[in-house]
């Protein structure tokens, strides 16, 4: 009996000992959890902030190691792990890729329709340093697609507006502002400071410059473009892929280069292309996946189709990246890109050409006087019909410039209709958006036999400026 009791006592003692050990272990674990929590919420922390982001591989003088194990020596802090947790959970991404992003740096050329999503996503995913370059200020007609800016930033430089938004999303990244355009002289110095360059520009001249500078500075270039309902995207100068000049050694003729400010663009189209660009940057920085090198992604938004096509490789004869390059760190700064591309380094209003003489033109103010004086005349608006439908002057006749030769009789008939008895020939006034096509129309009409044809100088933009400020000029 006693023996049995003694035996049970021994059992209790053993169990008690086991429970004590367990208790000590749990207490230790709880302490660790509390410490980690303190680090994640620095406001309630009684630990110095320097603990975050410290060097865990340092020697004796380094900060004490945190009481949690950072896997196989990565440098992510607890705050970073929490912020990027959803992409760290991706088996194909993980801590190594995130580390590369946090260490990486990207230069974004252009803070417009493409640059907006690129900057937003790269800041959000934690790219360490983002350089944003753009000479322009935010305008109201940018906001439908340049989603990094908002109403409050109209009038502000695009780079400061973009930088503010990026930091509001992620204050732990560094944003460098370049409130000026890329030019041949500053390109190489600026690019040297970055790992990847993003071409989010809006003109041919800048595109050649960005590509050449990337070749000389040996940086991969993630290039995107969007217009109307279409987009194009590729990665140049990466692995064995071509550069922009390998594909397009000669620039397109100026007449073939449509601008967003003329041809229009649906807001989401650059949004999609820019988002793809951000994806390619992430892939290049982290070396995860297959970047679009020697391939091009073509987006047709109208039919919701995405095509990825195979491109040629590097051209050995290429003047930029070929075997005997003519464009080097010495020649590039003196290369005249605007002359080469025969177009300015901006998407802004093209300079107005003066084709017809003063005797064949009339200012908007004078034309307004004539209308108020009820002088009978014919007003021809030579814009495309879809532009004419947005807003037009009363009693104007819409004959798109391209259709003018077939519509001469319509103008003759209109002139005949307005003609009073005893009147001389009827005057015909021609207007368009900016006053360029209307001048060409005046020349064409004069050579077709119309004698009293006049150009309304500066078109509807001038009309809105000088006569009727309520007219919605585009």
């Amino acid at each position: 009996m006693f023996f049995v009791f003694f035996h049970k006592m021994a059992d209790f003692t053993l169990e008690l000992e086991a429970l004590r050990v367990e208790n000590a272990r749990l207490k230790e674990k709880l302490k660790q959890h509390l410490l980690v929590e303190d680090m994640l919420l620095p406001s309630s922390s009684n630990l110095p902030r320097a603990v975050i982001g410290m060097n865990r591989e340092g020697g004796e003088n380094a900060c004490p190691a945190p009481p949690w194990i950072a896997g196989l020596s990565h440098s992510l802090t607890a705050a970073q792990i929490q912020r990027y947790s959803r992409q760290l959970l991706l088996p194909s991404f993980g801590v190594k890729a995130q580390e590369n992003l946090c260490k990486g740096s990207v230069l974004i050329v252009g803070a417009g329709g493409l640059g907006s999503p690129v900057a937003l996503y790269l800041a959000a995913c934690g790219v360490g340093c983002i350089g944003i370059m753009d000479p322009d200020r935010v305008e109201l007609h940018n906001l439908h697609r340049q989603v990094i800016h908002n109403e409050a930033s109209v009038g502000e430089t695009k780079v400061s507006s973009a930088s503010r938004t990026c930091l509001a999303i992620n204050s732990s990244v560094k944003v460098v502002e370049y409130p000026f355009g890329l030019d041949a002289r500053n390109a190489l110095d600026i690019m040297a400071q970055y790992d990847v360059v993003v071409d989010a520009s809006d003109n041919v001249a800048t595109r050649y410059l960005v590509s050449d500078a990337c070749v000389v500075a040996n940086k991969p270039l993630v290039s995107g473009a969007a217009l109307g309902m279409e987009g194009q995207l590729t990665v140049y100068n990466y692995l064995k892929g071509p550069c922009y000049r390998c594909l397009f050694p000669t620039p397109s003729p100026q007449a073939a280069c449509q601008r967003c400010s003329d041809a229009g663009v649906l807001g989401v189209v650059p949004g999609i292309v820019g988002t793809f660009q951000a994806l390619e940057v992430i892939k290049v920085l982290t070396k995860v996946g297959e970047p679009l090198s020697a391939r091009m992604l073509i987006l047709d938004a109208l039919s919701s189709r995405i095509h990825t096509v195979k491109l040629r490789g590097k051209n050995t004869q290429c003047v930029a990246c070929g075997e005997l390059p003519q464009i080097t760190h010495i020649t590039l700064p003196n290369f005249d890109y605007e002359k080469f591309a025969a177009s300015p380094m901006s998407d802004g209003t093209p300079p107005r050409e003066q084709v017809v003489g003063e005797d064949q033109s009339i200012t908007c103010t004078d034309y307004n006087k004539l209308v108020r004086g009820h002088k009978s005349h014919v007003l021809v608006d030579v814009r495309e019909k879809h532009q004419y439908d947005i807003a037009s002057l009363p009693d104007s006749l819409n004959i798109p410039y391209a259709k003018l030769p077939q519509q001469l009789d319509t103008i003759r008939a209109a002139a005949q209709k307005h003609k009073h008895e005893g009147d001389e020939d009827m005057s015909v006034y021609v207007i368009c958006r900016r006053g360029n096509d209307s001048q060409r129309a005046v020349q064409d009409l004069r050579s077709a036999g119309f004698n009293l044809v006049y150009d309304i100088t500066g078109g509807l933009l001038s009309w809105a400026q000088d006569v009727d400020s309520t007219f919605p000029a585009l």
Binding site: S201, A225, C257, A263
Partner: protein, 150 residues
């Protein structure tokens, strides 16, 4: 060709009559369309024995030169009764038969103008011989103008 077309049409009609569904009108009308288009092609003699069917696509603004239509299913006859249709002969065929305005915005000398990318079955034509590339039945050729907007 025409005789063959009529015979095919007659055979189709007979077949359709034999397998006509009792409950659904949908299928019969679909087949009727097929029959009608076969009939029409045969009657008009659209397709010649040496014609080659190609799918052409124009993008990046080039579609404006083709009546704002992006995709064109075409039957191309090789010039000079050569058996082969090459990219060079296709370009001249497009210039003569398909383009609606400003051909200088599409072709320059015997090739495409600078800034146009040509893709044959989703591959850059530089990879398969540019103008000398020999096309095959049902090939897909894409002409795309490089975009600059952003």
């Amino acid at each position: 060709m025409n005789k063959l077309g009529f015979r095919l049409t007659a055979q189709w009609c007979l077949l359709l009559w034999l397998i006509r569904p009792r409950s659904s009108d949908y299928r019969i009308s679909f087949h009727f369309i097929v029959v009608r288009s076969n009939f029409r092609a045969a009657r008009l003699g659209v397709r010649r024995a040496d014609d080659m069917h190609l799918t052409l696509e124009f993008g990046g603004g080039l579609e404006l030169l083709f009546g704002s239509q992006k995709k064109h299913e075409v039957e191309v006859t090789s010039p000079d009764d050569l058996k082969e249709v090459t990219m060079e002969s296709l370009l001249s065929w497009i210039k003569d038969n398909l383009i609606k305005e400003r051909p200088e915005m599409f072709v320059k000398e015997s090739s495409v103008r600078p800034g146009v990318l040509v893709l044959i079955n989703d591959s850059d034509w530089e990879l398969c011989g540019r103008l000398e590339t020999v096309l095959e039945e049902n090939d897909e050729v894409i002409f795309i103008s490089t975009l600059h907007g952003g």
